[in-house]
């Protein structure tokens, strides 16, 4: 009562102002206190104020044509005494194995670095190890590739052993026999995990009767029948100069790099009569394929049509995919299925941009009672993505990642050599590194959403392995 009386008799001038002032002071005190006990985290400010400024990796690739007429791309970097040479032969992958020789390219790649010319099996490995030379070969569906990395002081040894390897591979009996045995054992154990079996089944569904559908380890009977002559013949007729791409990086100048390439590759045959494999007709119509197995988790792979690396839609779809399922824990799929619902340890997507099989690919796994819910989340997100596309904020965030992570590609010498091969393989141009960030910056929201609409319009084809018939859990 007394209070009310008192207030009623106070002059009201400035009351509003006083209240405002009080509120302002109070807010200031609270803000200061909060800032003191709980400093807000302002990443942008930390970045802007940072004493560490942006720098550019300045060592750019050049093209070198060797005296023998080979073309190679080179990044000279004398910071560390290491050299790496990566190389790739087109039209030499396992997709090109003859029908009764399934496993040929893989077996050849495995036994190739096990003896050549004057180096018997023992001397071959001894030379590699004593000189710190790392050498390996790889086989994909289309290509045969390899890489040699060595301390620059040991370039003579590296050059000699690799040129002998292509000139006169020995494929020694004992090494060939034990390698075959390893292939057969690996074939037998291929379905040991659901992931292993899924890989095989997925290729079969996707590629049908095309050679791409074959088992990557070949066929047991064919492997047993392969002879040393078969392997030598494969090397001689398939690894030819017209199909060769070379990338060299590290502590080497262009003259020495030319010499290295010439000494290793110049004596290969110029041309091969291998015909380009036709692109597979991909089966993406039937949407679900279930393989029943008694497993702790259901493992699932899915695919939809994508773009090649050279396609004008590549960057828009690349960014769209980053947002949809490509960015790890921050992707839409991961946020929905993992972060918000805890249904899976991982779900993600990526682009395969090969000329013959441009695809959006993805995978997830979860316990049987979660599986159907996972699948529905995938479908719902997929459709929503096609219909509504991405937001301006999502596009900005994706661009930020792609621009700020640009320099991470320069972390190792062998990585640089690899990158030089990929740049040539996909016709990115010698000035790709200078232009790449502008490619990203120039992509508009409209382009990304057009790509989302176009490539997410059809639902993905899915293959799953596991016990999907288990009774549904509580949710």
């Amino acid at each position: 009562m007394h209070r009310r009386f008192y207030r009623a008799n106070k002059p009201r001038r400035f009351l509003l102002l006083k209240i405002l002032l009080l509120v302002a002071v109070g807010y200031g005190v609270w803000w200061g206190y909060k800032g003191y006990v709980n400093p807000t985290f302002d990443a942008d400010k930390i970045y802007t104020d940072s004493i560490l400024k942006e720098k550019t990796f300045t060592k750019m690739p050049v093209e070198v044509v060797t005296p023998q007429g080979l073309k190679l791309w080179l990044i000279e970097d004398h910071e560390i005494p290491i050299v790496s040479m990566a190389f790739l032969f087109k039209k030499a992958g396992r997709g090109y194995d003859a029908q009764n020789q399934e496993g040929l390219a893989m077996l050849a790649a495995d036994v190739l670095p096990q003896g050549a010319g004057k180096y018997n099996g023992h001397d071959y490995h001894e030379t590699l190890e004593l000189n710190g030379i790392a050498l390996g070969f790889n086989v994909g569906l289309e290509n045969f590739s390899g890489q040699i990395t060595f301390p620059s002081a040991n370039i003579g040894a590296a050059e000699d052993i690799l040129s002998e390897t292509f000139r006169a591979p020995l494929f020694p009996d004992d090494a060939l026999k034990s390698s075959k045995q390893q292939f057969l054992t690996a074939l037998a154990g291929q379905k040991e995990t659901p992931q292993g079996e899924l890989g095989l089944e997925f290729a079969k569904v996707l590629y049908g009767n095309h050679p791409y559908a074959r088992n990557p380890l070949g066929n047991a009977q064919d492997i047993e029948n392969l002879s040393r002559e078969d392997l030598q013949n494969y090397i001689k007729t398939t690894l030819v100069k017209e199909n060769l791409i070379i990338g060299i990086a590290g502590d080497i100048n262009s003259e020495r790099a030319s010499e290295l390439a010439d000494n290793v590759f110049a004596n290969l045959s110029s041309k091969s009569d291998v015909e380009e494999l036709e692109a597979p007709k991909m089966n993406l119509q039937t949407k679900r394929h279930k393989i029943e197995r008694k497993t702790a988790q259901v493992t699932s792979s899915f695919a939809a049509l994508g773009v090649t690396r050279e396609d004008k839609d590549f960057y828009p779809l690349y960014i769209a995919n980053y947002i949809f399922g490509g960015s790890g824990l921050t992707s839409r799929l991961s946020l929905e299925a993992r972060e918000k619902k805890g249904l899976t340890y991982g779900i993600g997507t990526y682009l395969a941009t090969d000329r013959k099989t441009p695809l959006i690919l993805g995978q997830f796994s979860s316990t049987p009672e979660n599986y159907e819910q996972m699948y529905q989340i995938l479908l719902h997100q997929w459709q929503n993505f096609a219909t509504n596309g991405v937001t301006k904020e999502e596009l900005e965030a994706a661009k930020n990642y792609l621009l700020a992570s640009y320099n991470l590609r320069f972390n190792s010498t062998d990585g640089l050599a690899d990158m030089l091969v990929a740049m040539q393989q996909y016709n990115l141009g010698l000035d790709f590194l200078q232009k790449r960030n502008d490619y990203i910056k120039n992509i508009t929201l409209k382009q990304v959403n057009k790509a989302a609409k176009r490539y997410f319009n059809n639902l993905p084809m899915e293959v799953s392995i596991g016990s999907t018939k288990v009774q549904k859990g509580e949710n």
Binding site: F41, P151, K287, L329, N370, L408
Partner: protein, 456 residues
Amino acid sequence: MNKVVYIIVLAGFCFLQNAEAKLFNATSFELKNGLEVVVIPNHKAPIIKQMLWYKVGSIDEPLGKGGTAHLLEHLMFRGTKNVKDSEFNDVVALHGADANAFTSDEVTVYHEFSDISRLEVMMALEADRMANLEINDDAFDKERKIVFQERQQRVVNNPAARFAEIMERTLWQDSPYARPVTGTEAEIMSINKSDVEAFYNRYYTPDNAVLVLSGDIDVKTAMKLTKKYFGKIDKRMAFLSSKQPSAALTDKQSYRVESQMREIKTPRLVKSYVVPSLPQNSKEAYALMVFAKYFGDGYNSFLYDNYVLKGKVVSASSSYSALRKGPGVFSVSVYLSDEQDIDKGEEILNTSVEEALKQLTAERLETEKQKMLSGLVYIQDNPEDAAMLAGQMLALGMGLSDIENYEENLKAVSLEDIQSAVNKMLRHSTDITGLLLPYNTQESSVLPVKTTEEGK
């Protein structure tokens, strides 16, 4: 993401083989709060790897609470007082960095690989979650489900991983090393928020951690920035260093485990010995490293020449995990085809070490050492490899000088050192033989297979 590394064996020393501190050029210093910092300048590209190694892992968990260290690792990405919910991941992505973490039995490690211009953001994030973790109930519930799924994916769905767990349990008995890093299903679901908070509050303190900065930075800048971001963090009052669990090093025991699993099609056999690790006995560890190289590492090794090339086994290898706080493990393993005799395979496990020792000459020993030193320069190349090696060594309680002296210590290994270390292993080490075999009945190899297709 959040890779669990069950046992960091680092592929039997591939990193250490490449290390030389003269070339490696690392510096270490300590902040006032006890945080140890290692700086490895590498100016090849404007990038940097930050790794924060906490010297705590699954062996430090209370009984029955297996999986706590690993669940905590996941929750470190789920919000602090200042960086709420999943904002950590958003900030990392916005700044173009790749962040991840892993938990082993002995360490928990967080790492970010970024452009040098973003390092301060990464340091601020890492420092913030060292001091300010705030676990909300919903995130806890979801993340516990996620690690449950992770265990199903990595272990339960993989027969070789399940068998490895059986072996560990048998070998280590009631030592904490026996327990799986992920915890069991029941353990995971029994962990409470307060268990994880208690674990965090006790062990995530600057004086129980090593910070590695490897990349385009100099020591002076690193000192300034670590002080700025990590220097303010107080030590935890309650921190007590964890006791090293005892493990069966003295009384020799021999165990034998045989499992038949329906997914397994060809036999694989392994024999492991409990031996000293590098911090436990440097002289013996170096001797075993060189022996392991000669005995079973790659082509031209004793195992490859005598058993693989001669067609007695499909493949054979040996490994020695020396970079461990607790005991190391020396293993021999062979894979057989379904036609090869399992008893003969087991005989190889039991006799090959002694046979190899008998045949080792002083000359061969020198060649093997040369091979181990031939690639030292590689550690200067990728800043991520260097960070891994330095972090691991320091988290074990070893110093940079232990990396610096690698070449010298390796060269000093004599034939007698190897004979003494290997003989001690054969006579006195606890060992375990494991046989992972296919079912030998016809019926079990026929699985129910049904394929259905639906929808268009």
